[in-house]
């Protein structure tokens, strides 16, 4: 059987940690029987000695039986945790009034060794096989379902839109401080940016499914490993392709309209944004596969969006807007950087050579620290020298978040699920710092 966490080499040692055994066998009337009994391991013989239970019947001499050791730890008011069990099959013989099991096959699960989430992910193919079988039996398709709203929300990864809101609103408030304002153009830029971002998210799923990266990933988290909608059978690959194309079509159409009405300067920004977005995972460039994903994300969700929005409103470029975009660019780059850590084994397996795949842990953790430091240094320099509003200094209050993520990376680098809290905090670091920069410019408008 697959997915077993049983340590064959330490079977008797592990079994000895349980309180009792459950002996299961087939009785004369054909029904299975299972009954608890005490036991002791016999390491010198490699066997397990069981007390003879006084049950419905006795297993036949030499018959193959199943002996299971199971444990849960009750959590009153919650349920239970520390789930583990070991199941052993083998012939049972009678020795000096006891029963002796000679282990031949084993199966089991210990959530300390294989997390429940990973167990579920590794079991996805089994679920598909079962539903396929049900479909054949019933003559109709049996598949998992989710409401259309949740499907859209999850498949497009809507929560990540904070990466688009921050730079576009930042570009808009910098323009406002410079005396340019057009709320409807800001809204249009926002809709275009959202469309391109959602298209990128969905296209990323399409290409990662095609390349096998998402299939190979058995440690997805809410922040990494893609939306899993294709892997779970909730949507088809072709449906996701159509969604990606529709999103890009909307975004590009808005970009063309804005270029036509606001100026050709926007053309190069738009082309660069769409180019980086599409070829982030798409061939022939597949930037993320070559370790350039971070640069793409930094450029796309930093200068391109901030300057693009600024240009849409002001019809010119601004050095201040560019400078203000840099810390945002670094922090969103770090979101991808950290989120790729749990994906490392699957990415490596599918040939996706991200920076995390290419570099060792120490370099990655140090890289995070240096990048966070650079982001806050840029904020401070900009504010102190007057390149940006001096109010931007309020964004420095999120710096401790960066330190916390840095420490968590060092501690939980190889533990995907323990790392989740740090991944969440890292996203908040980008969001809150970006929002504080926006607030700084809003204050500057009125002061």
């Amino acid at each position: 059987m697959a997915l077993s966490t049983v340590r064959e080499e330490a079977l008797l040692e592990d079994v000895a940690g349980y309180g009792h055994a459950v002996l299961a066998y087939t009785s004369e009337d054909g029904y299975p029987v299972n009954v608890a009994t005490d036991f002791e391991t016999v390491p010198e013989r490699g066997t397990i000695r069981l007390d003879r239970p006084s049950g419905p019947s006795e297993p036949a001499e030499g018959a193959e039986v199943n002996v299971t050791f199971s444990h849960v730890h009750p959590q009153p008011g919650v349920g239970y945790d520390q789930r583990r069990y070991i199941s052993i099959w083998g012939p049972l013989t009678k020795v000096n009034g006891s029963l002796e099991l000679d282990p031949q096959r084993t199966h089991g699960w210990d959530e300390q060794r294989l997390s429940f989430f990973e167990l579920c992910e590794r079991s996805v193919p089994a679920a598909h096989r079962y539903m396929q079988k049900l479909s054949e039996e019933r003559g109709e398709t049996v598949k998992p379902t989710l409401s259309a709203g949740w499907l859209f929300f999850l498949a497009t990864r809507v929560p990540f839109l904070t990466a688009t809101f921050v730079p576009i609103l930042l570009g808009a408030v910098v323009a406002r401080v410079h005396g340019f304002s057009a709320w409807w153009l800001t809204l249009l830029a926002l809709i275009g940016g959202i469309a391109i971002h959602l298209g990128l998210n969905v296209a990323n799923d399409v290409f990662d499914s095609t390349s096998g990266a998402d299939e190979a990933n058995v440690n997805p988290t809410m922040f990494s490993g893609g939306s899993r909608m294709i892997q779970y059978g909730l949507v088809s690959l072709s449906f996701m392709k159509r969604v990606a194309i529709a999103c890009y079509a909307i975004g590009i159409a808005i970009g063309i309209y804005l270029t036509a009405t606001r100026g050709l300067g926007l053309l190069w920004i738009g082309i660069a944004g769409v180019f980086l977005s599409i070829f982030y995972t798409a061939p022939p460039f597949k930037f993320v596969h070559r370790g350039f994903g971070e640069i793409c994300v930094a450029l796309g969700f930093g200068p391109i969006m901030v300057l693009g929005t600024y240009y849409v409103i002001a019809q010119r470029f601004s050095f201040e807007a560019l400078w203000a975009s840099l810390p945002v660019a670094l922090l969103i780059m770090l979101v991808l950087y950290v989120n790729q850590i749990p994906d490392k084994p699957a990415d490596a397996k599918s040939g996706k050579k991200t920076i995390v795949v290419r570099l060792p842990k120490n370099a990655i953790v140090m890289g995070y620290g240096l990048s966070v430091g650079a982001a806050f240094l840029l904020i401070a320099i900009g504010a102190v020298t007057g390149i940006t509003t001096r109010w931007a200094l309020i964004a420095l209050i999120t710096a401790p978040y960066g330190w916390q993520v840095y420490k968590a990376l060092d501690t939980y680098y190889d533990s995907p699920y323990e790392l989740m809290a740090a991944m969440g905090k890292n996203i908040q670091l980008h969001l809150f710092t970006g929002l504080l920069l926006i607030v700084a410019y809003v204050i500057a408008i009125f002061v």
Binding site: H20, T26, A36, P56, S70, P74, V124, A126, L134, Y232
Partner: protein
């Protein structure tokens, strides 16, 4: 009072885990730790399609045996051990929400399930589930944890349709 003897019902209503033994295609026993639910007549368990092997075994051979053996996970005084043989069937007309019929029994034992169900979108396949419905046929009840002593036997054949 339900179908089963009162001490057995008390165990079924309290147990956080039991061991369900089914037969594989070669007639060999296979045991799964599962949370037992009881409505006064039948015993229920649920299984995600992620872990569906047991469902296939039951469909091929409905004969099962369930035992409650863990005193720590069964807060009943005095604790007894019980084995229940019966016939099982898999109810899965609606994998998405059919199992919600036993949700009140489940959440009574595992309250966190209420919160997890609200977030079922995060683990969609885990919440596509079948219900295992067991009609008890015979019960073996040991007065304490000593299964080396003779059990009290209850034959329920014909006790319920």
């Amino acid at each position: 009072m339900g179908l089963l003897p009162e001490p057995v019902e008390e165990l079924l209503n309290a147990a956080l885990v039991s061991e369900l033994t089914v037969l594989d295609p070669k007639g060999r026993p296979v045991t799964y730790p599962l949370i037992p639910l009881y409505d006064g007549e039948r015993i229920y368990m649920t299984s995600s399609v992620l872990f569906s092997k047991k469902l296939e075994h039951i469909k091929a051979d409905p004969r099962v045996s369930l035992t409650i053996t863990d005193a720590t996970a069964t807060p009943v005084e005095p604790f007894r051990r019980v084995t229940i043989q019966g016939d099982a069937r898999v109810v899965e007309d609606d994998l998405h929400s059919g199992w919600e019929s036993v949700l009140p029994l489940w959440t009574a034992k595992e309250p966190i399930i209420t919160e997890l169900v609200k977030k079922r979108f995060a683990m969609p396949l885990f919440w596509e589930r079948s219900v295992i419905e067991i009609q008890p046929r015979r019960v073996y009840l040991w007065a304490d944890e000593r299964t080396d002593r003779q059990p009290e036997i209850f034959d329920l054949t014909g006790a319920a349709a």
